[in-house]
Amino acid sequence: MSNETRSKKTKTKAESSGDGNKSVISVCLGTGGIAAGGDKVFARFEKEIKSKKLETALGKRVCKTAKTGCRGLCARDVLVDVTMPGKKALTYERVTVDMVSQIVEDHLVNNTPVKKWLAKDDYHKFHDNQQRLVLGNCGAIDPENIDEYTIKGGYKALEKVLTKMTPKEVIDEVSKAGLRGRGGGGFETGWKWESCAKYDADEKFIICNGDEGDPGAFMDRSIMEGDPHAVLEGMIIGGYAIGATKGYIYVRAEYPLAVERLQIAIRQAKENGFLGENILNSNYSLDITVKEGAGAFVCGESTALQYSIEGKRGMPRTRPPQSVEAGLWDKPTCLNNVETFANVPIIINRGAKWYSKIGTEKSKGTKIFALTGNVRNTGLIEVPMGITIREIVFDIGGGIPKKKKFKAVQIGGPSGGCLPESLLDKPIDFESLLEAGAMMGSGSLVVVDETTCMVDMARFFLDFCASESCGKCPPCRVGTTLMLDILIRITQGKGKEEDLDVLEQMSDEINTMSLCGLGQSAPNPIISTLRYFRDEYLAHIRDKECPTATCVALHKYTVIPDKCTKCTLCIRNCPVNAISGSKDEVAFIDKEKCTECNLCYEKCNFMAIK
């Protein structure tokens, strides 16, 4: 059964939504959009359209509201696209419920966009510097409607694969494209599929790893929420290539919207013959189930994830055997990341040759990053491999806000590393990141400015890894805790210079001796901060001073006269009246009276107390 011959019901639906004579209002309803009030905005739009009877009033120009997935620039949510018939979509940013009626009145009824609310230049700059392949559909289509996906060419790749390609050819195509796993390790996808395909078993599994757990990462969530069918299509193609009998999508339960949309997508795919028995009348059958994880970070590790699906505690196991030989329930299992699967239909549709032109020699295609931290435009970006950090932070991200200076960028989440200003022109690909002491990870990119203490940041990430350790092996369970103790001591001014040697030794030991990637990479933030920001550590140890005045225990509770604006906020807030000064005089803290409650520091808006 091809797309054209599907049931009549869906066909008419497909036609209606593709009607060019309609004005479409698309409201961003990813998790970010909803958090910003997107569902309320969406409801108000529907209400307004109904009350204004736009359908009848405007004759043929039928109005329609559409839910879409995330479109990247989450900092500007709620984002609303208004597309008038025959015109390019215009984007409103930071839309609130109160703005809805005016947009409907001016733009839809009178066809004059409300200019003051339209997205500014930097919104476009944010988008123009990207290459949105995988995210192409996100924010453009209604993820809960399969027809919008098929109209954009969805499931064409699957049809091609099932009708014209052998599993071997599929694998070859993916290999030729040079697709590498987007989950962090950068393992060659084609090779993985090939090694799984060669095992013969009564049951074989294909698993999609949607257990995105890095702090500040939300690429996979956005794809699952914004374009769930792309993930499914990639999985089915992968399943066909390796001969899988069953598929699982492992999503953390903290992503309820992703779970819901995936389930809707699975249901719709089944109804349309893309999933289930004899897919598209071929001999290939596959069923896919969504498995909700309980949110342990370690369950993103492939073997722990498989145990979790089996109903066991998510703890990584040693290898061999590799999962491709004996994974889930000891059967051959192929596990790929969400983004990896979403790349597959693109490769099949446009060909390995086209795809492999994007990116660098060893890292092909695009990569999605979650850009967060001290940067103007936070959000989701998709860029070709090989782009420099500078391009991402300054061109797409719009630079550092509040006239602060760029200090570093933490790439790859808690397992990644901090790269300093000197590496701003480093191209981003799997190899060069590793070489610089970071890693691709799942693609979180946290920008930090000059006010961030690197010791404290290392402590934060290590704390995360230590508390997310599954507890199986001592280097990770005990080692990280011991390291954390040392870091905490340093941030309290109790560190010794020898501690830095011990930290370096331990980093090496934990990296070598830990069982899984979580433990092995847990010391990375420390290694990279020690490598690039050793001075800051030494300042904490030798001078008992935190250069950015972040580490509370090192606060001296003195006022920096140059920075004090004489606003008297600290004076008013001091509970023991230890601070003197006035509108004309810089504040002064009386050490005799001060109880070091830290309230003045917290209240000061100008970082004038250290």
Binding site: E468, G471, E509
Partner: protein, 877 residues
Amino acid sequence: MSDINLKIDGKNLTVPEGTNIFMAAKNNGIYIPGLCYHPKLTQYGGCRLCMVEVTERGKSRHRFSCAQPVSEGIEVKTRTPEVEKYTKSVMEYLLAHHPLDCPTCDKSGECGLQDVTHDLKLSAGRFKTARLDEPMKRDNPLLEYNTNRCILCGRCVKVCKEIEGVGAIDYQNRGFKTVIGTAFNKPLDCSFCGGCVSVCPTGSWQDRTLKFRARPWELKKTPTICTYCAVGCTVVINSKKNQVMRITSDDDLGINEGNLCVKGKFGHEFINSSRRVITPLIRKIGILCPASWEEALDHVSKKFSEIIDEHGGKAIGGLGSEKCTNEDNYLFQKFCRTVLGTNNIDNISNIKSPSLNRLIQDSIKNRIVATSLEEVEKADTLFFVGADVTEAHPVVGSMARKAIRLNKTKLIVANARNIEFNSVARKDIRLNYNLGTQTILINTLIKIIVDEKLVDLGKVESSTENFKELRSLLKASDMGIRKASKLTNVSEDAIKSTSGLLAKSGKCYIICGKDIEEDPLAEDTIKALLNLCVLINAGGSDKVSLVFSRVNNNSQGVNDMGVVPDFLPGYLDINDQSNRKTVEGSWGVKLSDDVSVKDTENVFDLASSGKIKALYVMGENPIVSYPNGKKVKDAFKKVGFVVVQDNFLTETAQLADVVLPTSTYVEKEGTFTNMGMTVQRLNKVIEQVGNSKPDWQIVCDLAKKMGHSYSYTSPKQIMEEVGNSVPIYEGIKNSDLAKEGFRWVSSVYNKSEPVKYRFEITESKLTDIKKSREYPFVLLTGSSLRHQGTYSRNSSSLVSLASECFVEINRNNAQKVNIADGDMVKIESAHDKIQLKAKTTNRVPEGAVYVSEDYEWAPINNLRVNGYTNVKISKVK
């Protein structure tokens, strides 16, 4: 599997494919530190101590040896400076976490963590400590758990899940706070096998029966055979100053791979119990008074002689022991037959299933009896018929689980009760047949195999004597699968897939349990089982074997030794004149002609009818364990003179005229024969407690007193005689027994020529279970995991663990009569009544109640009559 050549630390080795580097090194005397790997558990790889350097194709890499299978030509270095540095670092982390409270830890001296610390020559570490501060968990009488000492090697979690099938404990929390614990931190509720203690490399899990009574280096460790059930596990008795302190196990000894059950592991306190009878007792003016051995034996010999003179030897009945050694029993029956001149001897197991000995002999002729119990581990299919393995033979359960884990063995459990058996099997077949329909179920399996030609019927035809007879019987029977399914309440699908699995290729072991053997229709059911095995083996290639359950540690041996009326030792039919001649020749005595052959008239029947004037009971407590309480009490009332030799003043001993104190299994030598017919040797651990003597010694002394020259000086000598005169034990050598048990079935197989198979032709019958309006429930009895007779009753820790014998009532029945869990319930039969606490369950079928026979202080057998007993239950307000 082929062999792999590799080099470890310069040493060339050849090991089987699939071995990991850790075991390859260990088996060849090369030390690699490690705390989480255990050969009997699945690989874990959590302790990170077993790192080695592996050079393969010129490339050197660090590998964890427990996770790395050997491969051809690799070169392994276990101690490079790098490896040492990293391994030490992990130990340093572990020791920063461990409380190092060795002075107050019972494990100190046999602690894995101490050993590795010492082996790696660890000195002061770089770190301050990072410890947990959790309270000791002490919520049961046997085990305690110290969270702080735990290194999370995971062994206990795996032993509990994989070996014991319980899964009572698992990891909790994440990160540094990860600990081992029970679900919702409830008190530990498991089978208390103590496997966690056995595998724990640190002092986290502790055996509370030892608690601070001895340091490990003070303990003398002596392996011997367990005295509880018929599995015959090897236990290691840890003693200090002639007292048993605790029991451990050794993975390399015996048949149990270091696995034990709660009784075997913790039920040792009876040995040094203050309730032991430690001096002979003679009844004077109605009271049992201490006496000297001389006095007691004089008294007994005089009394026996008087009775022999007056009524003849046959007026004395003897009851042998399922708990005593083969040597004790052999000498006991020889004494009865030659000195007393009676053949009126028996043992409880033979009384409970009178046809079993003969049926086992038939099965051996057909070569379908398994040659050992451990073979269960090699099974591809396991079929438990009426066998409650979990309660009765827990370590066989572990063997089965090993098979299921490693061979993906298919499991079929057929039982009238919905018994518990847990394993990793993703699905197993349960046939919960209606009470009394077991013979029909088995015959239906046979019918399907024949009808659907699941085996080569031509081959069956040619290799059996009477296949035609069986076929015509099957044809004549109107018992089709539909009818059988309805009668048995087992689905047609389940019956069909069972037949399919049994007939399928691969080794299959059928464990025939007590519920079959003690059923009034036992003979028919076992014959049907025999036919099933013969059919499959004759039609294929000898792949099905039968294992007959036995209850006690030497229930098999007591029968082997001829403590039965109709068989001389080694199942020589006493009515066969040539057998009599041979034995008379070797013993130099003429045997009594009088033999009670009828199954209906055992030694207690004879006593009740006044034909027996005196009873000589060795190591049994029939007042409690005999399955017909009224009859046994009558018998003892009638008998004029009772001699009981036992460790404790049991209910039976309390009725005796003379009580002779005996030594327990750790105080004597000898052999036990387990239900796999393996003869295993005991080792003496401690000196006799008090004035007690081993049973064989008492029998010897008594024989001497009665004018016979019993010149045995040791059990070794007795076993020599057995080896020379009892055909099935021919060739047994005491010295060989030190290494390995003697498997008499396989020795019989080796010596005899195979004979043509023969089917036993019997019709399918239903067990007669009487219906009664007054007594609407059927009383079922069975074994208990936590108790077994006098020994467990006198082990205080076991008693405090399981102080209550429950009556199990089906939930639906209980609801109707308004009985809830824990209610006191009166169970009443026509003979007697008893009050027990209720446990409502779905393990018992509707219309039945279940009480374990093994709680001696709850003598359920008093209520029973022959066959199934009808009872009524009522709530006690």
